[in-house]
């Protein structure tokens, strides 16, 4: 049995930093609590270095009875999650600085980050469920961090849905265990084709529901707009980016490793879910006037595009690299948009952004890059991601899905432009006090995210190979 703990350095460093942070935070005076933020950043950086070493030295392996896989998808996912976590930490600095529960914020962020990392590598149904809980529960608390009415309501909604669908997921895992007499993917792969069809189908759907909840996809998307709108903006940025990464990679691994040969027609199920998610997300975003709600629905539609890669997980060789690359590009682009919203805390509606390009040209440029990036305009990273995902969908025989995704992309342009056009309107700008900025950290995060988003598109050739390779059984 391989019990190599060094394979789990990124997860352990986040969890360790959380424990140390919790203890140290209890003794630190409030003005020194920023030390915990620094600790969190160091933990992320250590995780990134460890991942880079794993990739450079080719130390792919599965550990603990094959329950946790450290392979291409895990490495890429770790880079995305840890990089995104660093951006989230940076954009949160001004929001929680001097807050009486500052330490708790960083600790919760680290714990849910560790849970997301565990989701990515989960190669076993029980591991998957444990990771789901670890990723979810701190996030409920984060959603209510501000302790105001809207935040509490959002957290309650988030929690109730998460608890319900988490239980469903556990029931699904039990059904699959009953069908295959094991919970490890490698063994399920051979056992499930012989198992009763109905059992496998119901079990799979139930497990997927939990992952769809984490990803914010239809039909488990109802929490997304409320949490995005009610939670502090950096938390909103977190819940619309990192859990999606974790859930989608976990879903990809589950479908690709455990169910390739089962008789269940899950590709069609996921294709329909993808179609419904992207369409509903887009339609709901159309006439939003609040920027956070607009972004929330936009993230739902983005999950729809990402689910296309899951639908063709076993049908196209392009699926894996398109999924991983799109996730990276999406994370950077989405965080960039949220960083701008964080930086302008008083600008809540689209009208509040009128004339921003004259007052804050750099922030307007970031929004231009990020929103056009979310549409999929070249040369941003999401364009390349979309290109790969559309190619994968057509290659996997889902041309109708790709055509629908194209139609949705055009439709999404409408609401992104509703936000973008006022930025550059010279007449009747919004009052200056709605466009006051928060501070340097959030702005720097915005610039960095936009730069990464552009760089992923222009230098995609250097990044794509990292997403190529086979998963470990």
């Amino acid at each position: 049995m391989n019990q190599n703990l060094t394979a789990l350095i990124p997860e352990l460093s986040l969890a360790g930093a959380a424990v140390i942070g919790l203890l140290a935070g209890s003794w630190l005076p409030r003005r020194r609590q920023w030390l915990i933020a620094a600790l969190a950043a160091v933990a992320c950086a250590a995780g990134l270095v460890a991942t880079a070493v794993t990739m450079a030295t080719d130390r792919e392996q599965t550990v603990f009875f094959g329950q946790f896989a450290v392979d291409v998808a895990t490495d890429a996912g770790r880079l995305i999650v840890l990089g995104a976590l660093l951006l989230v930490i940076a954009m949160s600095v001004e929001t929680v600085r001097g807050h009486k529960r500052e330490t708790e914020y960083w600790v919760l962020l680290l714990l849910t980050g560790a849970g997301t990392l565990a989701l990515i590598g989960a190669n076993d149904l029980l591991m998957l469920f444990a990771a789901y809980l670890l990723a979810s529960i701190p996030a409920y608390a984060l959603a209510a961090f501000a302790k105001d009415a809207r935040g509490t309501e959002a957290a309650l909604k988030y929690y109730l849905m998460g608890a319900l669908l988490g239980t469903t997921m556990l029931a699904g895992a039990a059904l699959l265990y009953g069908a295959g007499h094991t919970t490890v993917y490698r063994a399920l792969r051979t056992a499930l084709p012989a198992a009763p069809y109905g059992l496998v189908a119901v079990g799979l759907v139930a497990v997927l529901v939990g992952l769809l909840f984490k990803a914010g996809a239809v039909p488990a998307h109802f929490w997304v707009p409320d949490v995005t709108d009610g939670a502090p903006t950096p938390v909103a940025a977190y819940v619309t980016t990192l859990p999606k990464t974790g859930a989608l990679i976990a879903g990809y691994r589950l479908l690709h490793q455990a169910l390739p040969a089962s008789g269940v027609n899950w590709p069609l199920l996921l294709a329909i879910l993808a179609a419904a998610t992207m369409t509903l997300g887009n339609l709901a975003a159309f006439f939003q006037t609040s920027v956070k709600r607009l972004l929330a629905y936009s993230t739902i539609s983005q999950v729809g595009y990402l689910l296309m890669a899951l639908a063709v997980a076993t049908r196209s060789d392009l699926a894996q690299k398109s999924l991983l690359f799109y996730l990276a590009a999406y994370a950077a682009t989405n965080l960039g948009a949220f960083a701008v919203v964080t930086e302008l805390p008083h600008a809540r509606t689209l009208d509040d952004y009128r004339g921003l390009s004259r007052r804050r040209p750099a922030l307007a440029a970031v929004l231009l890059v990020c929103l056009l990036g979310l549409v999929g305009t070249p040369p941003t990273g999401v364009f390349l991601g979309k290109l790969e995902i559309f190619s994968a969908a057509i290659d996997g025989g889902y041309t109708w899905l790709a055509a629908l995704a194209v139609a949705n992309t055009v439709a999404s342009l409408f609401y992104y432009l509703r936000w973008l056009a006022p930025l550059f309107t010279p007449t009747a700008p919004a009052p200056a006090d709605t466009q006051t900025v928060l501070g340097r950290w959030a702005a720097a995060t915005a610039y960095a995210s936009a730069a990464v988003s552009l760089a992923l598109g222009i230098a995609g050739g250097a990044v794509l190979p990292f997403a190529t390779g086979s998963l470990l059984p």
């Binding site: 690299k321 364009f383 390349l384 290109l387 194209v406 055009v410 342009l413 190529t468």
Partner: protein, 502 residues
């Protein structure tokens, strides 16, 4: 070398953006723009001088960009693209000179146009489908901001949104078609040269037809042809004059250029199979565009519709070039040569016409034809230049339009007699509509819109005259002595015909 031509404007644009806003006055920005456009044009002339017209693709540069996605940075020019590259440089220079009078947010304006110049040049030299697509999409983004930012009021923002959504649908259809080509090729690649050689969709029936449909629709929206033209009139009417000139002169060519660069050589089988449909779309665009233009009361809108008519000739010609029955390679190649010449000619003449409508709007604040009368008495220079441009546009011998349309009709008549005969009536209708507009606006009793101050209307100023007359002069040179241009286009046209007949 080619990359320098393409990215020089973008480099200047970046430099302008990075300089602090007080370091450069509006006037200086304009001068920098003119200098850049002149330098770029000079570089292209140098390229042209050492271009070997029988040498196929030249000045090629191929760099690995995203190899794992089959995408490369591959640029080069041949007889199809070089004239369009030169046309773009010339038009951007003309627009730069014309825009010396612009006063609103000059620096952003200059930067946008520099960006658009890089995008346009990049598209014409791109030899990779994704590179082509990148520039295709960015041209939409750039033009959106030109129309929304410097157009005529709130209406312009609506027109810009319509333009963006409409052409974006087209560009994504194009992307689907490109993916179809990519997946069919083995090994998967987006490289136009490799795909041309491999002809991956030969004998793939319906699949190839669908790919052609996607690419065809994408390019048809941009061109635009009937029935995808409805974004064009509002976009033109509400855009600033310089934006209209670039939109009509350069951006529309991206669609028609796509047909000869991508659709014909990469999908020869389906192109031949569906040639008749393409010819019908072309002929309908010619007649419908002309008839609708005839019904317009707005001068600028009228010119916008004549663009639909002129682009229709090109579609007719490329469709006829795909019809093997009843024609030999020489007549078909004549049609392609005519099509490319028409792209150049339309860019020059319609570019000039749109700049002239800008002068009209600047003086009278309206484009309505019946608001003006007897302008020739007040503004003889403006009347003369507009009249020359109008005659050139309707295809009078002596100007480039005649050379182009003559070749198109000669090349198409043998194989598509009926469609060509119908299309010829388009010339008649455009003649009628231009003569009607000229008579109404320039002749008769002098009468001006009430908005004009009592001191009367100013004639063409130096910068306005220089930019428009220069464009018409080139059209005249092509009309009188076209060999220098045709010598470059003809071998390339011949190559395309050879590829289509495979």
């Amino acid at each position: 070398m080619l990359s320098v031509v393409v990215f020089l404007p973008l480099a200047v644009c970046t430099a302008l953006l990075l300089l602090p806003s007080r370091a450069l006055s509006d006037r200086a920005c304009g001068r920098v723009w003119i200098a850049t456009a002149t330098a770029d044009l000079a570089l292209v002339i140098a390229l042209w001088a050492s271009f070997d017209s029988r040498g196929g693709l030249q000045y090629q540069q191929r760099v690995r960009w995203i190899p794992s996605a089959g995408v490369g940075y591959h640029v080069g020019v041949d007889g199809l693209s070089l004239p369009l590259v030169a046309l773009s440089c010339l038009l951007f220079l003309a627009v730069a000179v014309f825009s010396l009078r612009e006063r609103r947010r000059v620096r952003s304006y200059v930067c946008l146009f520099l960006f658009l110049q890089t995008v346009s040049l990049g598209l014409f030299v791109a030899l990779d489908l994704i590179l082509f697509f990148v520039f295709f999409d960015l041209s939409i983004v750039g033009m959106f901001f030109v129309i929304a930012g410097w157009g005529h009021g709130e209406r312009a923002r609506a027109a810009a949104l319509k333009f963006f959504l409409y052409t974006f649908i087209g560009s994504l259809a194009l992307l689907l078609g490109f993916i179809g080509l990519y997946l069919a090729a083995d090994p998967h690649t987006f490289d136009i040269v490799d795909l041309t050689r491999a002809d991956p969709l030969a004998g793939r029936g319906l699949y190839a037809g669908l790919v052609l449909l996607a690419i065809g629709v994408g390019l048809a929206v941009k061109t635009p042809t009937v029935p995808f033209h409805t974004w064009l009139p509002p976009a033109h009417t509400d855009a600033p004059a310089a934006g209209s000139a670039i939109l009509a002169g350069v951006l529309l060519k991206m669609g028609t250029y796509g047909f000869v660069r991508i659709a014909m050589p990469l999908l020869p089988g389906s192109w031949r199979r569906y040639a008749l449909a393409i010819v019908v779309v072309g002929a309908v665009s010619v007649v419908y565009g002309a008839l609708v233009a005839l019904a317009q009361t707005d001068f600028k809108r009228m010119i916008a519709y004549t663009s639909v008519n002129h682009m229709g000739y090109i579609i007719l010609a490329v469709g006829a070039a795909g019809t093997l029955a009843g024609s030999d390679a020489q007549t078909r190649s004549l049609a392609v040569t005519g099509a490319v010449t028409q792209m150049v000619s339309h860019g020059l003449i319609t570019g000039a016409l749109f700049l002239l409508t800008g002068v009209l709007y600047d003086r009278g604040r309206t484009y309505a034809i019946d608001a003006y009368s007897g302008l020739a008495a007040h503004t003889p220079r403006f009347a003369a230049v507009t009249a020359v441009a109008a005659f050139a546009s309707l295809g009078i011998p002596g100007f480039s339009g005649f050379i182009a349309e003559f070749q198109i009709f000669t090349g198409s008549l043998a194989s598509q007699t009926v469609a060509t005969a119908i299309a010829v009536t388009g010339i008649l209708i455009t003649a009628a509509l231009f003569l009607r507009a000229l008579r109404g606006m320039f002749l008769g009793v002098p009468r001006l819109p009430r908005t004009i101050a009592t001191r009367g209307i100013a004639d063409l100023k130096g910068s306005e005259a220089m930019s428009t007359v220069a464009l018409l002069a080139v059209a005249l040179v092509i009309g009188v002595a076209p060999r220098w241009l045709l010598d470059v286009i003809e071998p390339a046209g011949h190559t395309v015909i050879g590829l289509v007949a495979r």
